[in-house]
Amino acid sequence: MILRIIYIPLIFFSISLQLKSQCFTSPGNPIAGTANIGTVGKKLLRGNLFYRYSFSDQYFEQDKKTDFIYYDKALYNYMGTMIAYGLSNRITLEAEAGYFINKTIFYDERLPYTLPEYEKTGYGFTHAVTSLKYLLYHDDINRLKWSLGAGSKIPLRLKLQYSNGAILPVDVQPSAMAWGIVLQSFLLKENSLKALRYFMINRYEYNFTNNQDFKWGQALYTSLFISKHLHFRYEWLTENWTAIMQVRHEYRVHNLNYNLEDHIVNGSGGHLLLLVPQLNYTIREKWNISLLAEIPVYKYYNEVQLANKFALTFNIAGDIVLNDNQ
């Protein structure tokens, strides 16, 4: 029996080692998700809306825990959206953007001095990414597809955020305030007989120096996905569910802060390996609801950084076909 394979939103986020001059990953900025794979069909409009919660409370020095005292914990609540539209069967136009509901750090009360406040919160828009994706190769017999994408990162905020007249720490500034370039590759292999799909997503990011003389390090993300349509004995119960497992590697090079003497932010960048289990429920083959957890399994940070502990994401995705006669 050949099982139908329907569109499943693959949630690809970066927990991001994003930091400024603080040596800490802090909660980081999510790079809005590429919640689909490659291109969409002609005149198909695909929308995604997601919510994400992230929590960090442990410092790492390289790949080991350290008792470094500075922040006690850091967290954020984030909303994002992504819209993709098929200009043709080969070319897709995509836009993504995000908003921090809050991005909060809590200073450690064990610091050897008293602070006037122990909590700082920022909020606001992050950035947008607009990109074009091109279906470079497809083999319908072997169910193989390869798409490439290129786009620009557009900061949605160019001014630093203040609270009560004091500039907010860089770790809670909502936006990196930098323009950038994003290159992506999507490889898809399907096995209809087993209702399995395999994906590989690569994403490269280059950021230009922002108006604060800060340059975020280049980043490279590689994600491998395997998705399995849950089609068991109790079909009435499982037919709309899909399980997805993602293994992701993130690599980011050092940031540069031209306000510092040697420019290199030593405590920035590193490697991160994550497991991301995802459960998806499909409604009428048009709408998808997904829940996923991001669990770091290996971390290597340059010098000392506050490492991400986990993140949870809830995503809603839907398709609308825009016909000529509509």
Partner: protein
């Protein structure tokens, strides 16, 4: 006779009211106090990474509002006195900028350098 008494009573009350108003001091026209930014000083100008220092701005003027900024490190607190903390990786000369504005939107800025070593 009765009406004469009433009229004289009214006249006396009117005179009293006039006298009371004439005794009220005139308020001088309000003059804006000029904005003067006297100094910006740090408790310690040289600190190690992870340490903190208090920075105080002294100024005079009307309804002053203080804005603080650092090239690296965190600023905590608000008003004319804040705490600056230097996390690691902020080694070097970190510039703290304080801008003060008054109710007439006049603004003055001073900078101070904290050496993190």
């Amino acid at each position: 006779m009765k009406s004469l008494k009433r009229v004289s009573g009214l006249i006396i009350i009117t005179i009293l009211i006039i006298l009371l108003y004439s005794c009220k001091k005139e308020e001088p026209p309000s003059v804006n106090q000029p904005l003067v930014f006297n100094q910006l000083v740090a408790e310690k100008n040289m600190i190690h990474p992870g340490e903190s220092t208090t920075i105080t701005a002294t100024a005079s003027g009307d309804q002053l509002f203080y804005t603080w900024k650092a090239t690296a490190g965190d600023i905590l607190g608000s008003g004319n006195r804040v705490t600056y903390i230097s996390p690691p990786c902020t080694i070097g000369s970190n510039e703290i900028t304080c801008s003060i504005s008054d109710k007439a939107n006049n603004s003055l800025t001073k900078k101070i350098v904290i050496e993190v070593y």
